[in-house]
Structure formats: C-alpha cells, structure tokens
C-alpha cells in the first residue's frame, strides 16, 4: 500500500472511539499527552511506509 486510506475503514467506529477515550480515563493532561505520543509511535511503526506516513502527517494538519 502506498496511499493513505481516507475512506471509512473501521468496522466498528463507535467501539474504537469509546476504547480510545476510555484509554485516557483517570489520566492527567500530561499523562494523556504522553499516551497519545506513544500511540502515534506504535501506529506509525505498524504502518511502516514513509509515503503513507507523510500523507497522514499532511492529512492531520
């Protein structure tokens, strides 16, 4: 894959969203920031493809 998928791709979007928010439960702002950073790194490594990552960086701007 060398293009970022910006079409809906999550089978259960509400489940993912709830899990994401729940992961922040009980965290201070600083802990949440640190968690988000770790999550981005984990996901980025999974994607691996630099071209896709660049598109993701642009899409998130």
């Amino acid at each position: 894959m060398d293009t970022l998928n910006t079409k809906p791709n999550l089978a259960a979007p509400d489940d993912f969203y709830a899990a994401l928010i729940a992961a922040h439960d009980g965290k201070t702002d600083a802990e949440s920031e640190a968690f988000n950073a770790r999550l981005i790194l984990v996901l980025a490594n999974h994607i691996g493809d630099m071209a896709v990552l660049r598109q993701a960086l642009a899409a998130a701007q």
């Binding site: 920031e33 640190a34 950073a37 770790r38 981005i40 790194l41 984990v42 490594n45």
Partner: protein, 542 residues
C-alpha cells in the same frame, strides 16, 4: 605578540627560525597549510606523501591539551592506514561494542554492535584527540625521513592574507617578528573560529543549540568500569539533563553533562562543583582524578563555499557540527582525503584547476549530511519544544519493552562515509546486479585478500580492480595519469567477502577506483575507451 591560547599536551614542533624569515623577497611555496589540528596535519601528510612541497604553519608549538574528539570512525582509520599511521591508532585505541541507554533510574535497552567480519578496522575506536594528532605528526616525521618535502613551523601565526589570481600572500607573526610568504595554494585548516574566514570576510551560518555541556575526562583510581558506552536521558542523579559515560585509553573516562543554557561557566568549572556532579553519578565510593574539563556550546553551521579561488577551507573552518555522532574530526579527515589527490593532480599539471570545484560539490554534500545527522541527534537529546520532549520520552518508554522503538532512540548516529551519489566526477554504473554498497560514489569497503586486506592493495593512485575479468598487465597512461590494474579471482569460493561486496549477483566486474578509494565507475568487463572516458571525467577533464 604571540600568546598561547591553550596549553600543550605534546610539544612537537618548537619554534625555529627559518631562512624564509630573512629572505629579501617573499619565498613562494606550492602549498601553505594554516593550522596544525588533525585536519591540517593530515593535509600536510597527504600532499607530502605525493611529493608536493608543503609548509604547515601553526600558532602553537604542538598539540593542545584537552581531548575534544574521542570517537574515530572506521573510514578515518582506513584513511590513516593509507597514510601509514592507522596501526598505532588502532593499537592505542579502545574498541567497544556494548552500549546501554538509561532514562531516569532504569535501563531502557542495551545494544551490542557486533563488528561485521572481514574488515581490518573496527567500526570505530575511542582515542583522545591529542594521540590521534600525535600519530599523524609522527607519520609526517617518518615521511620527512623518506624525503617528503613537508615543513612544520611552530609559533607561526597567520595574521593577514592578500589574494591574487595565481597565488596568495601570507603575513605571519613569529617570536622573531613578522615575515611574508607566497603560496600557490593555501589550505585553511584553522578550526571553527577560523581567523582566515574572518580575514576574508566570509560567513559561517547555521544553528546554535541553546544548551551547554560540561565535559570532564576522569581517571578512575578504584573501580574497574566495563568498556561500554552509557547514555542517560534525564538521569536520576540530576547531574545534567543528559549524561554520557565513555571509555578512553589510559584508564580515562569521558563524562558529558548537559547542564543548560544560562550557566555560570567559572562556577561550574570549579573542581568542587564538577565533583558534586560526578559523585552523584558514580556514588561516593568511587575514586577518580579529574584530568581535564571544559564547557562547550554546540552549533551546526557551514560556509557557503569551501573553495575561494586559491584558498581552500577544510575541517572545522569550513563546517562545524555538534559532537553527537562524532562527525567533526571524522568529516575533516574525509575532506583531506577528498582534497589531497585533487590538489596533487592540479599542482602537477595533470588535471585542470576546476577539479578542485568538485571538492566543493562533494564535501558540501558531505557536510550537509553530517549537519543533518548531528542536528537530529541534538534535537533528540535536547528537545526544543514540549511536544518534542513528549515524543522523545514516549520513544524511550516504548523502547524498554518494544524493539521497534529502539532505532528511534538517537544519542548520536555513528559517522559513516559519505556516498557521493551526485558527484560530477562519477562515471557510469553499468554493473547489473552489483551490490549497492559499492555503487558509484561510495567509498570502497574493505575485505580480506590473501594474508592482508583489499584496501591496502588498492593504495592511493587510480586503480582498476578487476574481478574475474581480464585487464591489461601494464599500467595504463591516460593523459599522464597512471592507472594500475589488478585482478582478483573469486572462482571456486575464493575471496568470498570480496565477491559479496563487489560482485553481488554479477559474475565479473571492473571497478575504476579513485585515489581516495571512492568508486568512480564500474562495468561487467574491461573496455579501454570506457575506462579512458571515466578517468577523464573523474579528473574533471570533460
């Protein structure tokens, strides 16, 4: 007046009055090198070995105290081998493989840089810079005995230069007063603060990192610390925002404390304050002597151009990097390696003056690569924003349990040789299936060859390296440039590492290799016209 700006570790070339000082008219020399640091010494050595008369001027009488560089990379050792002084460096240097990364009070991970087999030199050694310079100087003396026309003049400070189309006039101050020399070529190796750059009104732009590093070399008197590199991010002992501990020869350890931007230097350099930081790190029961200490701030910057007519800048005068990744002296030696043969050919009338412009092309490319790498390391070690700090710590946290995050940890990327992929000197790359590591522009990797190694057999002239291919027995003469051919057979499983590094999927190959042991062109077989064209291209004749 001449004042010493630093004290000496080795007094090697005491001032001696020379006839040039009393000559009626300024004496003209082919090359004058300004500065006797590692880069100036190597330049004099390279040119002198080619039989080119060179005068090196330094404002001191030897090598400065204080180690500064400690990490010397394989490429530097390979070049030093070519000059004949790699042996003593390797003998004296410390080889290390194990590195540990810590954050706060926990080890994040440990790595073992197992050396790749089949190279004469390790990936790097730790050696105090004064030793490195001393071995270069000793080789200069050895070459002088063999007749190399090298003069080294201590306490000769360059105070002004006048530039002309075909030479440079150099005004020098000595303990006996001033004198003037003329040089066909002047190589400026006068360091990061380059007085020559200032005399010529040339800029030196880049980035200053808003942090200071307290650096101490200590001699352990009680403990037997392992030969490993330890790097702490945000250490629990609070001696700095980061701390590096690294072994050197003679039982000496290098410690770097990142101590912040606004510091009182005089206060921080008091022995009691340095000891306070060291004791917090090492524990009270470790005894040591402080051998040397200093505070540095780091910057990454370079000149727009390194060649200015008859004046050529090399080493720190041309470009400066932060020390993470050990790219200062290592890249300066690559400058010399690149410049030496080019200047040699131009002076001998064997190549046009524009060959020297390729020094700019190739080494500016190299400098930018080094600046990029060391800037990235510095940004990881000293994050500039809250977000950057958060990500840095996220990487460190993940690295403890997840292998994927370890390559993101950047406490300095080891200096590796630059591949001149875009060089105007490059000829064709026609070797289908040839390994990427020996593509045109790369420096030749070493490999075992008979009882010795390939790089030693390549020497320092243009060479045709033929693998399972026929090449002429007698040296070629291409417009006055001698090209020696030599063949290696890899049939029957012989020279397996040469085959792996130079043949890859190909069955035969012919490489044109430059005097600095970079690949200029490669083909599957010998073709006289193609070789001739490539040699001409490599000498900027076309």
């Amino acid at each position: 007046m001449l004042h010493d700006r630093y004290s000496l570790a080795f007094k090697l070339y005491p001032y001696a009055k020379c006839p040039d000082q009393t000559a009626q008219t300024p004496v003209r020399h082919p090359v004058v090198v300004v500065g006797g640091g590692p880069v100036g010494l190597a330049t004099a050595l390279d040119l002198g070995r080619q039989g080119i008369a060179v005068v090196l001027l330094d404002d001191h009488e030897g090598i400065g105290m204080g180690s500064r560089a400690i990490c010397f990379a394989k490429r530097t050792l390979d070049i030093a081998d070519r000059y004949g002084c790699g042996g003593p460096m390797l003998d004296k240097g410390v080889v290390w493989n194990v590195g540990k990364v810590f954050q706060d009070d926990r080890q994040v991970f440990e790595f073992n840089l197992q050396p790749e087999a089949g190279h004469k030199n390790p990936a790097f050694i730790n050696l105090q810079q004064p030793y490195f310079e001393k071995f270069l100087f000793e080789q200069i003396c050895a070459e002088q005995k063999k007749g190399a026309p090298i003069q080294v003049r201590g306490k000769n400070r360059v105070d002004a230069v006048d530039r002309f189309d075909d030479h440079v006039q150099v005004h020098i101050t000595t303990p006996d007063g001033p004198y003037t020399l003329q040089a066909d070529w002047l190589v400026a190796c006068d360091g990061a603060g380059s007085p020559l750059r200032a005399m010529m009104g040339l800029g030196f732009d880049g980035r200053v990192f808003q942090d200071s590093f307290l650096i101490a070399d200590i001699k352990m008197t009680t403990t037997n610390f392992p030969t490993e590199r330890w790097f702490w991010f945000e250490p629990y002992f609070k001696s700095g925002a980061s701390t590096l501990l690294h072994k050197q020869p003679d039982g000496i350890w290098r410690v770097d404390f990142q101590i912040g931007w606004d510091v009182d230097r005089a206060e921080e350099l008091k022995e009691s304050n340095i000891r306070r930081r060291l004791d917090a790190m090492l524990g009270a029961d470790v005894d040591y002597d402080i051998v040397w200490s200093s505070i540095y701030t780091f910057q990454c910057r370079r000149m727009d151009k390194f060649r200015h007519g008859r004046v050529i800048f090399a080493g720190d005068s041309a470009h400066q990097v932060s020390p993470f990744g050990a790219r200062g002296a290592n890249s300066g030696i690559q400058d010399v390696d690149n410049l030496g043969w080019k200047l040699g050919l131009v002076i001998q009338g064997k190549a046009p003056d524009r060959l020297l412009d390729s020094y700019d092309d190739e080494r500016i490319f190299g400098a930018d690569e080094n600046i990029l790498n060391s800037t990235r390391a510095t940004d990881f070690i000293t994050p500039k924003s809250k977000a950057s700090h958060t990500f840095r710590n996220a990487v460190l946290t993940l690295a403890e349990h997840h292998e994927f995050a370890r390559p993101l940890v950047n406490s300095g990327r080891l200096s590796v040789p630059c591949v001149y992929t875009q060089s105007p000197l490059n000829g064709p790359d026609r070797l289908v299936g040839g390994p990427a590591q020996t593509r045109v522009g790369s420096s030749c990797p070493d490999a075992p060859l008979g009882d010795g190694f390939l790089l030693a057999a390549l020497g320092d002239d243009f060479v045709l390296l033929a693998l399972n291919a026929d090449v002429p027995d007698t040296p070629l003469d291409i417009d006055g440039i001698a090209v020696r051919a030599f063949g290696v057979s890899t049939t029957g499983g012989r020279h397996a590492q040469v085959a792996e590094r130079y043949l890859g999927a190909a069955t035969s190959a012919v490489y044109l290799i430059r005097p600095d042991q970079h690949v200029a062109a490669r083909w599957p077989a010998f073709d006289a016209t193609a070789v001739r064209d490539a040699v001409r291209t490599a000498c900027a004749k076309d």
